[in-house]
């Protein structure tokens, strides 16, 4: 029993070391890389932005619109009782921009791209492609991790902004068509309590979420063992871990905001 516990502790320490090494190298290739000749794969990064960002637009739009509508309906149901129906717009816009937009987008992207990162790297590792890279004197982190992290840091905030906008429009659709609020007053109410720092706050969060999702995906990919089955296990595990850590980070940020404000 104690033996097993000890092994667990040692294992997790080894994992932490590996994770730290990955973060360290990624930071190197992200910060130092771009200033060296051929040090950063811009083309690979752009491809990542397209894959993780552009291709996620339809699904993010759909879900963000639905979230906006649900939020509007749900808050209307409660606010009507206290006679504050006009506050629906405010509630939707503020909670979407500060909280739900970044969070929902990050969860969708963790499911779409975090898993793809893990699967890609894990299957490359299984096929000895990562080994081949190393023997060719090419750094796997530079080629496989840095472009993904950078790509997601660019793509996720953009997706988040779009999700914010779409969710507010979704709320507006409910407000205008279902609750009889005019477009003009809904629009004005939306902006009453919404301030620029709220938007920035959400974007900063999404940058951190991007870091979490991409690093978790890549880390899980590199730690694959076994064949195709291992790839599947790592893919699943990358989504679960990334979503968990994103939500945990969100709790932390919200708490921090609350305390500071």
């Amino acid at each position: 029993m104690i033996n097993r516990l000890g092994k667990r502790v040692l294992d997790s320490r080894k994992n932490l070391n590996e994770l730290a090494a990955l973060i360290n190298q990624t930071a190197y290739w992200l910060v130092v890389g771009p200033f060296r000749p051929k040090g950063f794969k811009w083309r690979w990064t752009i491809r990542q932005v397209v894959q993780t960002g552009k291709e996620a637009v339809p699904i993010v739009t759909l879900i963000a619109a639905a979230i906006g509508m649900i939020l509007a309906l749900q808050s209307a149901y409660q606010l009507r009782r206290v006679g504050a129906l006009t506050m629906v717009a405010t509630l939707v816009s503020v909670s979407v921009v500060r909280e739900l937009g970044p969070l929902i987008t990050a969860i969708i992207v963790a499911g779409r791209s975090g898993s793809a990162f893990a699967a890609e790297i894990a299957s490359m590792k299984v096929a000895e492609e990562v080994d081949a890279m190393q023997t060719m004197g090419l750094h796997p982190v530079k080629f496989l991790v840095a472009p993904k992290v950078m790509g997601l840091i660019i793509a996720l905030p953009c997706l988040t902004l779009m999700a914010d906008l779409v969710a507010i429009l979704g709320g507006m659709a409910v407000g205008v068509m279902g609750l009889g609020i005019s477009v003009g007053s809904y629009y004005q109410q939306s902006l009453v309590f919404l301030e620029v720092p709220d938007v920035i706050n959400g974007l900063i969060k999404s940058v951190f979420f991007a870091l979490i999702i991409s690093l978790v995906g890549c880390y899980q990919g590199f730690s694959v063992t076994g064949g195709a089955e291992g790839v599947g296990r790592r893919t699943t595990s990358s989504v679960v871990t990334a979503i968990f850590l994103v939500i945990l980070a969100d709790v932390f940020f919200t708490l921090l905001n609350y305390v500071v404000a």
Partner: protein, 268 residues
């Protein structure tokens, strides 16, 4: 025990030891790879031959001992110095290990594009030459998934040769190939040795391949060297384990009925 090598040594292991947890994979191996010849590392599954190869090419860090390549140990070098040594080494992995997101030509030209200041046109010419050398001229624009197993291996070889290495490592060249394709690959290796005086290290368990290409042989069993020497001497050896391997005789454990019964009763 001193070994008479047929040529100067280009790679050397000194007391190389590898462990996974408590399991010893390589046990204090000291061996040399002669320059300009084909050395075959022979061994059954689980003998440690693949682990040995991974140490020779610098993918695994030794638990103990050293691997000296052209006078240097990869693990003691700075990144820039390590790169200089790595540029002189090419590795062909078992399945070719081509990067699936790139075309065959991009695969072959990748190292040139990253490590040299050559013009794209020059890189294209070199890439075409290498593909021609392995018999894949005109296949550069295909994606790896469009190639057969044998072609993937040839493309992997072209990629390993892209930087004109002095040493070529090959992991199981015949694995998964039909006899004709396998023989073709063997012939390619012999050509490389004869034309470019390349040092070639091949890990295999395939006997036909061994007889065709080997100049110098190491046989590995349970992490130790069982046999060292030339191909000719190996055929004459009396060592029972080496003979068993060469004659393809299966393992027969001594049958002890009492021991068998005890093992069945274990835990009852």
């Amino acid at each position: 025990m001193t070994v008479e090598y047929p040529a100067p040594i280009i790679i050397e292991t000194r007391g190389l030891t590898a462990r996974y947890g408590n399991r010893v994979i390589l046990d204090n191996l000291s061996l040399g790879i002669p320059k300009g010849l084909i050395t075959v590392i022979l061994g059954g599954s689980g003998s440690g031959k693949t682990t040995l190869l991974r140490h020779l090419v610098g993918l695994n860090k030794p638990t103990g001992g050293k691997v000296i390549i052209m006078g240097q140990s990869l693990w003691d070098l700075s990144r820039a110095e390590e790169l200089k040594v790595r540029r002189k080494m090419g590795v062909l992995f078992q399945g070719g290990a081509l990067f699936n997101s790139m075309t065959v030509a991009e695969n072959v030209g990748l190292a040139l594009r990253e490590h040299t200041k050559l013009d794209d046109k020059v890189i294209n010419i070199v890439t075409n030459m290498k593909l021609e050398q392995v018999g894949l001229a005109g296949f550069g624009d295909l994606m790896p998934e469009q190639l057969s197993g044998g072609m993937k291996k040839r493309a992997g070889l072209a990629r390993a040769l892209a930087m004109d290495p002095e040493i070529l490592f090959v992991d199981e060249p015949s694995a998964g190939l039909d006899p004709i394709t396998a023989a073709g690959l063997d012939e390619l290796l012999i050509n490389l040795k004869q034309t470019f005086k390349m040092t070639i290290v091949v890990v295999t368990h395939e006997l036909p391949s061994l007889f065709l290409i080997a100049d110098w042989v190491y046989m590995i069993d349970k992490g130790r060297i069982l046999y060292t020497g030339t191909m000719e001497n190996m055929k004459k050896t009396e060592d029972p384990k080496v003979r068993q391997f060469l004659d393809r005789r299966p393992d027969r454990a001594e049958y002890d009925p009492e021991e068998h019964l005890r093992s069945l009763m274990a835990g009852v």
